[in-house]
Amino acid sequence: MLRILLFLYSLRSFLLFVLLEVLAIGLIVANNSPQGAAFFNSSNAFTGSVLKTRSDVADFFSLAEANSALLTKNAELLSELKLLKEIPDSTFIALDSALEEKFEFKGARIISNSLRFGQNHLTLNKGSKDGIKPGMGIFNEQGVIGRVKSVSANYSVGISLLNTGLTLSSKLKTNNSFGTTNWDGKDSEHARLLYVPSHVVANVGDTIVTTGFSNVFPEGIPIGIISSVEKGEDPNFLDIMIDLSTDFSSAHYVYLVENNQIEELDSLHQQAEIKDEL
């Protein structure tokens, strides 16, 4: 017995190495499942405050850009608002519950963002105090950015669209045929559009937007523009590459969207045993 213990003791650094590697791999696996809660990540108070200080300094230099992006978005929204504004009328019609407000929007700032790994994440400066919940969609005026994964009191961490684990229900704007956007882990400007049947007419230059099927994003938020269409290895599907419309390296201010009816829809889907993609 003693000799076994001595033998193990002589191997202690190797055993520690194996133990820590197994632990690390366990952490990688747990962290990379898009649904599972992460153990620790950059949303905890200390990490969040360090990253926020860094971004406070760094973002100061891009305020002009951020301002002009906000102005553009504001102008767009104002023109839309003008169309929707009620014309004063003597009659009053109670709105149907089908027109009930479905999506709720919030604003936040990215305080940390990565683009160079296979599984990229981003940290936002708002948390559960500000009403951020896991599962909310993140986008900016350019297009889709990602989805909130976990939330602390003051910060939240989202999975970037630049994450091979994230799939996004998307469609061609021209003919509404839908597919799934998934990043291929290569560079931050391109992604793939999967599962588009080969009979669909897809042309270079077509716009890809969100479908609204997934209940995370409203319909019609831009994702990208088709850059190449080829016959895939699987003859049933097309092999489509898209240029992402969001410039992830310069994204600072983002909008978060929450579907108010997601609980109802989720329980309905559960009843019908439908598994959802994003």
């Binding site: 202690r12 650094s13 190797f14 520690l16 190495f17 820590l20 590697e21 632990l23 690390a24 791999i25 366990g26 952490l27 990688i28 696996v29 747990a30 962290n31 992460a38 153990f39 620790f40 990540n41 950059s42 905890n44 990490t47 360090v50 990253l51 860094r54 940390s112 963002n113 990565s114 683009l115 160079r116 790994f117 296979g118 599984q119 990229n120 994440h121 981003l122 940290t123 961490v157 091979t164 291929d184 882990g185 290569k186 560079d187 390296s249």
Partner: protein
């Protein structure tokens, strides 16, 4: 390792980790050359540091970087591998007559030729472990090798520059 050394290494690890976290997160030259500057700290611990604490310390440093990067486990696993391999590699490239008790495997103590042959394979092993775990399931072994090779070269270059600029030079006979 005496008290002065301890303070020195705590300081070194903190500075390098801060630089890594604050400035080098999205830096990748030509999309392939990443810079893992914090591994200089792991590489420059004294030669006679025991294996067991070295592995533990490296795992801890890697984990701290991971928490800030949201890449939980990636840096930790690669840094653990680096720390595990380090003593074997140091032993196998030991110069005639072995090492002094207090030798640090740094540029100024050992010279540039030895330092490159010491750090480049270790940095390559680190990068390889990092990118295999990072790109797992996305295919493309070529991409992994490409990134590992250029990242290790870039990291070693940065290590040499950092040591030339900031590390204390050995003066006369110690």
């Amino acid at each position: 390792m005496n008290f002065r050394n301890l303070i020195y290494f705590v300081f070194l690890v903190t500075i390098l980790a801060l630089v890594q976290i604050l400035f080098l997160k999205n830096l990748a030259l030509f999309g392939v050359a990443y810079c893992f500057i914090y591994i200089i700290a792991i590489l420059s611990f004294p030669v006679n540091i025991r294996h067991f604490p070295l592995i533990l310390i490296s795992f801890g440093i890697g984990l701290i970087i991971d928490v800030f990067y949201d890449t939980l486990g990636l840096n930790a696993s690669a840094a653990t591998l680096l720390a595990f391999l380090r003593p074997y590699w140091i032993k196998s490239i030991s110069p005639n007559g072995g090492y002094d008790e207090s030798t640090k495997p740094t540029l100024h103590d050992m010279g540039i030729g030895w330092f490159i042959s010491y750090s480049l394979p270790l940095a390559f092993a680190f990068s390889l472990a990092f990118f295999i775990a990072d790109q797992w399931g996305t295919g493309g072994l070529f991409g992994v090798f490409n990134k590992s090779l250029f990242s290790s070269i870039f990291t070693v270059l940065m290590a040499i520059i950092v040591q030339l600029l900031f590390f204390k030079r050995k003066r006369g006979i110690q």
